[in-house]
């Protein structure tokens, strides 16, 4: 009796130990089960919302019908959950077979850790079908590590009715015109700009675009390499932004406002309480979700030129999404990506309005008028810069966001911003 009780205790203890151990093993990135000659490819994506949710399900079905020996295991996660899951997985030295990526610094770190497959040679002529702007985010040291699926850009979305009310006939083409328009809007009792200060990333768009317009794309690229952000383009970008912030153009309480929450940037804009916002291609739909939406009153103009700056007004700033392949993924993974980004297939995705064109000459597939403007502007873009918080290593990107937020809040000078970013970049 005594023995058996002790035996039971031991059993219970060992079961706990074993249970604890087995849960540390990971369910993803395991060797490919090839039961019955079928290859399973895990496909990690963020297609949890419509229209891409149903589009993705259909695309996988179609692909499997064409390739009966390949099974695509659909693993969709919500955006933030996806990032957390992927971070945990990559920290344990693994990567899914195919996974959503936004390129830039995070992808570069994964590449450096040897987790991502180099697609440059496998892809061959396939790469030629994409636009250069779309491909650029996924290049690390000149090699291609992911395939684009979506791309967008940031620009000013403005309320035509409020502009008219303030007596502004044309959207501003230069920075000084923008400053004048902000003054006019203020004089007319209209909040000129909506900004989600708490989220920080909406603020960094201003600084990044200003640096692009003043120093040109090369200045940003060079700074990324030399890790020196103290050049005149960056300090001047800070000064111009300070000049704007000093006019107090933002809505009341903007420092505590988020982008998408009730009362946030998108809601302020969507309810017609502010005249413009600097935001990406998703702005119209979020305005509609968080606020009433502006309908025909909504217009788009690219970030204005800065007088005497080196950058072209047609250089675009933005980002998109793409798919990378894990280093240990089966060769069939690439087949699926080729299928997804094939012209006829990708046009279907674009037609749903869920993604924007990444292939050359695909712009006419866009149905939504707002997105169409963005797609056409992008098609004519002379250069493309990825969001700074993605282009640079995560620490540098966050420092850009943090420092620029402090600049807008008035607690850091333009010089201190440049200095802080440089220090973080050098310590990376």
């Amino acid at each position: 009796m005594k023995l058996s009780r002790r035996g039971a205790a031991l059993l219970a203890a060992s079961a706990l130990v074993l249970g604890g151990c087995s849960s540390t093993g990971n369910d993803a990135g395991e060797s490919n089960s090839s039961a019955g000659g079928k290859v399973t490819v895990e496909f990690w994506n963020i297609w949890t919302a419509e229209p891409l949710k149903s589009y993705g399900a259909q695309a996988i079905k179609d692909f499997q019908a064409k390739h009966p020996n390949i099974v695509i295991k659909n693993v969709p996660y919500e955006n933030e959950a996806f990032k957390a899951k992927l971070t945990t997985l990559t920290q344990s030295g693994k990567a899914p077979h195919i996974f959503q990526t936004w390129g830039g610094g995070v992808l570069a770190q994964q590449v450096e850790a040897g987790l991502v497959k180099d697609l440059t040679d496998d892809a061959g002529s396939w790469l030629g079908t994409f636009t250069d702007a779309a491909l650029s985010a996924y290049k690390v040291d000149g090699r291609q590590y992911a395939i684009p699926d979506d791309i967008g850009m940031v620009g000013f979305w403005y309320n035509k009715a409020l502009f008219k009310k303030a007596g502004i006939a044309e959207p501003p083409a230069t920075w000084s015109e923008l400053i004048e328009d902000v003054k006019k809007l203020k004089a007319a009792g209209i909040t000129p700009i909506a900004l989600g200060g708490k989220d920080k990333w909406p603020g960094h768009y201003y600084w990044a675009y200003l640096a692009m317009r003043i120093g040109g794309l090369d200045a940003l690229k060079q700074a990324g390499e030399t890790k020196d952000f103290t050049g005149p383009a960056f300090v001047q970008a800070g000064q111009k932004l300070k000049e704007l912030a000093d006019l107090q153009p933002f809505q009341k309480g903007f420092l505590g406002a988020t982008y998408g929450d009730p009362g946030g940037q998108a809601a302020t804009m969507g309810d017609g309480k502010a005249a413009m916002e600097l935001m990406g291609q998703w702005a119209p739909s979020v305005q509609k979700d968080a606020g009433k939406g502006l309908g025909d009153d909504l217009g788009f103009f690219p970030f204005p030129a800065v007088e005497g700056g080196q950058g072209s007004v047609t250089d675009a700033f933005g980002g998109g999404g793409g798919f990378a392949i894990g280093a240990d993924a089966p060769a069939e993974a690439i087949e699926f990506l080729k299928f997804l980004t094939d012209s006829t297939e990708h046009r279907k995705a674009v037609a749903t309005g869920g993604v924007l064109p990444v292939l050359k000459g695909e712009e006419d597939a866009v149905t939504d008028p707002n997105l169409s403007v963005v797609a056409k502007t992008l098609a004519g873009a002379t250069g493309f810069q990825l969001y700074l918080d993605q282009a640079y290593p995560p620490a540098v990107g966050q420092e850009v966001n943090d420092s620029v937020a402090e600049l807008i809040a008035g607690t850091k000078t333009p010089e201190q911003v440049a200095q802080a970013i440089t220090e973080t970049a050098k310590s990376e």
């Binding site: 002790r6 205790a9 031991l10 219970a12 203890a13 706990l16 130990v17 604890g20 957390a84 971070t87 990559t90 920290q91 030295g93 770190q109 994964q110 850790a113 040897g114 987790l115 200060g197 708490k198 989220d199 920080k200 809505q251 009341k252 309480g253 903007f254 420092l255 505590g256 406002a257 929450d261 009730p262 009362g263 290593p393 995560p394 620490a395 966050q398 420092e399 943090d402 937020a405 402090e406 809040a409 607690t411 850091k412």
Partner: protein, 308 residues
């Protein structure tokens, strides 16, 4: 009873104890001690958290960087501010309400339940709730203030009011918990003592000051202890409501740690922050228990010793 047991029986006794402790020990070492040790280990490396264990040893550089960082020094100051505010305002408030609800008043059970309810609510829900109530533009609080012709502050959106606003939320969230502690402590005080004091002619205040308060000592001390540790590790509320902003003016140590660990992927540096947090909590806990709570704990440890 014989004082020396047969050897084999004693051994069996130890074995039984060990086996019964084993599951708990395994969990404790695996889930508590090992992560602490790993954090200590990672804190002397420059490490982005990827691929296996860190390799880039940098000694104490993370710690020197920490102590020179304005944001972290600000965290320490803000932590201290929250502790002072908690001990000076939140706890006396809880004590006062506890004493009121100890009186025989109508509906006291209802009020006890009502005041305890915020503590049951999750931090995230509390945070979202107050983000809406204290919204500068169109929030409930500012609308009510507006009826009286007062222009409300910007609450969380203004660096000068954000800490006070956070403290209001913290008080709302946690005073019920301390109140319940005090009520429990108050009910543990024998009636005879207060009655004896009243018969001797002590006024209500004097009974409270010289009988109730000293006898509530152990409860108050543990409540202060929990409050301080809670303030040092404050995270959820701040993270959701302000994210540490505007411009770091509401950042706490835990928020800074999260920023560096999960947003900037500087896991080594984040580990250094967690080590400092751990040490501050540990040193405080040891000194507090050693010097402030010594009398409260004495009984417990002697009883244990007698039994062995």
């Amino acid at each position: 009873m014989k004082t020396t047991q047969p050897r084999s029986r004693r051994l069996r006794g130890f074995l039984t104890i060990f086996l019964f402790l084993l599951p708990a020990l395994v969990l404790f070492f695996g889930l508590v001690v090992a992560p602490i040790l790993l954090a200590f280990y990672a804190s002397v490396f420059k490490w982005n958290g990827m691929r296996g264990l860190p390799t880039d040893f940098i000694g104490l550089a993370n710690f020197t960087r920490l102590l020179a960082d304005e944001v972290f020094l600000g965290d320490l100051w803000r932590g201290l501010l929250l502790i002072i505010l908690s001990v000076a305002i939140q706890l006396p408030l809880s004590l006062g309400i506890a004493m009121l609800l100890n009186q025989k008043i109508y509906g006291r059970a209802f009020f006890r339940l009502l005041f305890f309810a915020p503590y049951v609510l999750s931090e995230a829900i509390t945070a979202v709730l107050f983000m809406m109530i204290l919204r500068p533009d169109g929030g409930l609080a500012n609308q009510i203030l507006g009826w009286f012709g007062i222009e409300g502050p910007e609450w969380f959106a203004d660096p000068s009011t954000v800490m006070l606003s956070l403290f209001i939320v913290m008080t709302w969230k946690y005073f019920g918990f301390h109140m319940i502690l005090y009520i429990a402590g108050r009910q543990g005080i024998p009636r005879e003592l207060t009655e004896a004091a009243q018969i001797d002619g002590a006024s209500g205040w004097k009974v409270f000051r010289y009988v109730t308060l000293p006898l509530l000592g152990p409860t108050i001390r543990i409540s202060i202890f929990l409050s301080v540790i809670g303030a040092i590790q404050l995270f959820d509320l701040v993270w959701i409501i302000t994210g540490g902003g505007p411009s770091h003016s509401s950042e706490t140590m835990a928020v800074t740690m999260f920023q560096f660990g999960f947003k900037r992927f500087q896991v080594g540096y984040a580990s250094a922050i967690s080590v400092v947090m751990f040490l501050i909590s540990l040193v405080f806990a040891i000194f507090y228990q050693r010097y402030v709570m010594r009398r409260d704990l004495e009984g417990a440890t002697t009883v244990l010793r007698d039994q062995r």
